[in-house]
Amino acid sequence: MSDRIIGQVKRVNGPVIEVMGITDAEMFELVRVGKENLIGELIKLQKDSAVVQVYEDTTGIAPYDPVYGAGMQLSVELGPGMIGTIYDGIQRPLEAIRELSAIYIERGIAVPSLEREKRWHFVPSVSDGQQVSGGMVLGTVQETENLVHKILVPPSDSGVLKSVVAEGDYTVEETIAVLLLEDGTEKPLHLMQRWPIRVQRPTRKRLPLDIPLVTGQRVIDALFPVAKGGTVAIPGGFGTGKTMTQQAVAKWCDADLIVYIGCGERGNEISDVLTEFPELIDPRTGRSLMERTILIANTSNMPVSAREASIYTGITMAEYFRDQGYHVAIMADSTSRWAEALRELSGRMEEMPAEEGFPAYLPTKIAEFYERAGSMESLSGAHGSVSIIGAVSPPGGDFSEPVTQHTKRFIRCFWALDRNLANARHYPAISWLDSYSEYLNDLVPWWEQQAGPEWFADRTEIMELLHKEVRLQQVVKLVGPDALPDTQRFILEVCTLFKNAFLQQNAYDKIDAYSTVQKQAKMLHIIVTYWQRGSEAIKGGATLVKLRKMKVYQDIVKMKFSVANDDLSGLDKIEARLERAMDQLEALHA
């Protein structure tokens, strides 16, 4: 770090420090404060004074303490070694910190984000004299069994390669190529590059979002699907299962890489992920889930300003892998804590508040964050995507609060968690009435190709039933179910079946934790068939009791547990049995 003194502390108020006597400093410059070298970022400049937010506890910082400038913006290090690592909000590796400072995180610890000693086997794919531009692939490093880390030319550089090293083992800091820039200067390139966290990495163009991010969660994939490159908000009061839903998606979705940002949440949740993920096997690659996960942990007791930065740290890493042509999914748990960090910092800077004390620029910040998602063609022509799944924790579970409302403006898929469902231990507690997905129509072709032509019609039919059920339930609440005719009671019956047999999913069951789209489509079709044939049978004179007492009914209820993903013949059998039973019933009343 450079030890250029840029000013002195004037006032300390929690994580916000006013600095006086600024000589030269740039906006968002990385700074270090005091003798303990606390990391901070310069966020406001005015004449000869500035405001710095410090990413560590400021206890003991006093006026006239020196402030050092690093001469660069707050950046992340991008290169081999990130996968499977757990970082804090400003990309300090927590495992390495633990080796230095035991169980607590001491202040002022400086550990490089990427391990400096480790050698990676680099295979160049370019040669001397080749013309390259920003974002082009220089070569590859096999980082994990399943992930080839592509080494890219930094986005802003282009020129002629003066020299390229031979295939071999290099550390992240060793020069692997020398680039002759257009202005004639030489620039060494490394396996590692830096990128400021608040700046979006450039791409060539945005691509349409027409492939779903398959999560294996039936209520999501079949009812409210999200596209690769899409944005989702999961709002819900405490105890409604935001973290459970995010963890389920992180475990089973078909992204190449997961960036899991624990932003202002519980330490034990991070510890849960750290214990569980290495043991879980990714169904698509057969390798540990940790080999496709990067964790960013800024728990609720860690400094609040680093919480603000953690979101940007995570998305910058995701963009870097997107530029290599990977599909990355970000779990941000929870964006409300991030917004609250903004509020706290804004309050300490004595800015004028807007709604509920949040700064007026809150919507802008939320928009900036979600707009970094997308399916992109990278500078090298590769197709990659960043999907953002952000949890929102509305105070009192009230969705009309500012963070939920502003988030809703900038996302296109909304999985609303419902307190009543959670109380009844119906998980995932995603409400089928309040949730929506704007990606639905774009994804229909993919679904029809993968899971057969009935899916969309089946989905429409079941959604219609669910909405009818709400109205019927209101009647039932007044007069009891007996007052309804059998045709209507059958709607209630089918909806209950659908909720138990399809929507509820046990995250801890070996088979039920994950369902392929093929299984989902078949299950959905079986239930819709039961509804269609059953309502015809009722019109023909069959009774509700008879329909319920069918043997195949119990098979349908248990099909989520009994039929494994890799062998769906069991579902075909159930369907055939259902058709037979209905035929018999009709014959009886014919």
Binding site: N268, S300, A424, G480
Partner: protein
């Protein structure tokens, strides 16, 4: 520990006369550079010393907060001494069995506490990678907790209560009965009282005395008539001792903190005096972070024997669970035990509301090898059935019980038995987890077997019986 390298000339410097006193805050102008959050001593005209910390430091003024209140201070006569180091307390195992004020000074008439270990009361953030994921079942002997909202060693599980509800009784019962099955290790109890009445503190002391565990309890009392500002430091002092006992002395510590609502109100008081921008209901925007600093100090650490299990008690103002204090707590803690006034009115003890109560760590701490293999499904089935009972009761209140279907009548009977036989128990009743689970099956037998969707056929055969 004082650092001799740090400001050797400036630390300990004393200023006579202050510029402004506002509530518990004192403003001093023209000081030497003073460190943020440093400890100060404030001496009044009679020579009485009060402790405080620096809340804000700038080149021209320092704001300090005095924990023991500012009554009797004068502008010219007050002396402020800056120590140049953060507030620490000396901690040791010998503090068990004694009574302290919020700052850790003994108030039981015994000698002052001396020890070589001086710890910063603010603590430091535990590195998430150092945490051990908690999964050891604590048997509290209370069915509704053991069976439905299992407490795990290292968990933070608050009781959301209301005024006049038996939260103190329940907390005391847990403290008396809590044990890890198959071990003899006892829990040390650290008790922090913030703004509670003398009677309440007396109740706990009595209860610990009667069960003979008082020697294993350290009490930190900042009662209702103590300066409200002292409440802000009380839980930190208590948790600092708990951390020492758990992670330096390898003990299992149960920390009871009551009443968190009073703590939050003190925080609001200070925030208002400082003119900060409020968020909801006048509470400062950093209430969440502040509560997290306390709650997150619980847990287990890899390679350490000990653990801190946290049992905060808070009274929901007007029984409103969406009030900022319970709401923000619920976002940090690992579940909550919610009390229901209506159940209390019907004489059910503990009046734990079945549905909103939750233990997040339960899933990994129960089942085969930990409690019993039928536990997870049984609990899930009880929740599902009880949730349906609520619907049936609503329906019955509209259309009358006679109009209900026979199945719904079964559910009403189940609901009644569940509350009377399973939830309800005596204050001195210590049920083993097997007793609890068997009771659960007994009340489930009021329902026909087809209704038990969440239980496997084998479990039905083994436990539901014929």
């Amino acid at each position: 520990m004082p650092d001799p390298q740090k400001n050797p000339l400036l630390s300990g410097r004393e200023y006579i006369g202050v510029d402004k006193i506002d509530g518990p805050l004192i403003f001093v102008r023209q000081t030497h550079p003073v460190g943020y959050r440093d400890l100060i001593e404030c001496v009044d005209g009679q020579g009485r010393v009060r402790l405080g910390i620096v809340l804000e430091s700038s080149t021209n003024a320092v704001v300090v907060q005095v924990f023991e209140g500012t009554s009797g201070l004068t502008l010219p006569g007050t002396r402020i001494r800056f120590s140049g180091e953060p507030l620490t307390i000396s901690v040791s195992k010998e503090m068990l069995g004694r009574v302290f004020n919020g700052l850790g000074q003994p108030i039981d008439g015994g000698p002052p506490q001396r020890s070589d270990v001086e710890l910063d009361v603010n603590g430091m953030a535990i590195n998430p990678t150092a945490r051990q994921y908690p999964r050891d079942f604590i048997q509290t002997g209370i069915s509704v907790i053991d069976g439905m909202n299992t407490l795990i060693r290292g968990q933070k599980l608050p009781i959301f209560s209301g005024n006049g509800l038996p939260h103190n009784e329940l907390a005391a019962q847990i403290a008396r009965q809590a044990k890890i099955r198959g071990t003899n290790t006892e829990f040390a109890v650290v008790f922090a009282a913030m703004g509670v009445k003398h009677d309440v503190a007396q109740f706990f002391v009595h209860s610990f005395e009667e069960s003979g565990v008082l020697d294993n309890v350290a009490l930190f009392l900042s009662l209702a008539d103590d300066p409200s500002i002292e409440r802000l430091i009380t839980p930190r002092t208590a948790l600092t001792l708990a951390e020492h006992l758990a992670f330096n002395e390898d003990m299992h510590v149960l920390v009871i903190m009551t009443d968190m609502t009073n703590y939050c109100e003190s925080l609001r008081e200070i925030s208002t005096i400082r003119g900060e921008i409020p968020s909801r209901k006048g509470y400062p925007g950093y209430l969440y972070s502040d509560l997290a600093e306390l709650y997150e100090r619980s847990g287990m650490i890899k390679g350490h024997e000990g653990s801190i299990t946290l049992l905060p008690i808070l009274t929901m103002p007007n029984d409103d669970i969406s009030h900022p204090v319970p709401d923000l707590s619920g976002y940090i803690t690992e579940g909550q035990i919610v009390f229901e006034r209506e159940m209390d009115g019907r004489g059910i003890y503990p009046p734990v509301a079945g549905l909103p109560s939750l233990s997040r760590l339960m899933k990994d701490g129960i089942g085969e090898g930990m409690t019993r293999e039928d536990h997870p499904h049984l609990a899930s089935q009880l929740f599902a059935a009880y949730s349906y009972v609520k619907d049936v009761r609503n329906l019955a209140s509209v259309i009358g019980e006679e109009e209900l279907t026979p199945l719904d009548h079964n559910y009403l009977e189940f609901g009644m038995q569940f509350e009377q036989n399973f939830v309800s128990q005596r204050m001195d009743e210590d049920r083993s987890v097997e007793q609890t689970l068997d009771l659960g099956w007994e009340v489930l037998r009021t329902l026909p077997v087809e209704e038990l969707h969440r239980i496997t056929d084998e479990e039905i055969e083994k436990y539901y019986g014929s």
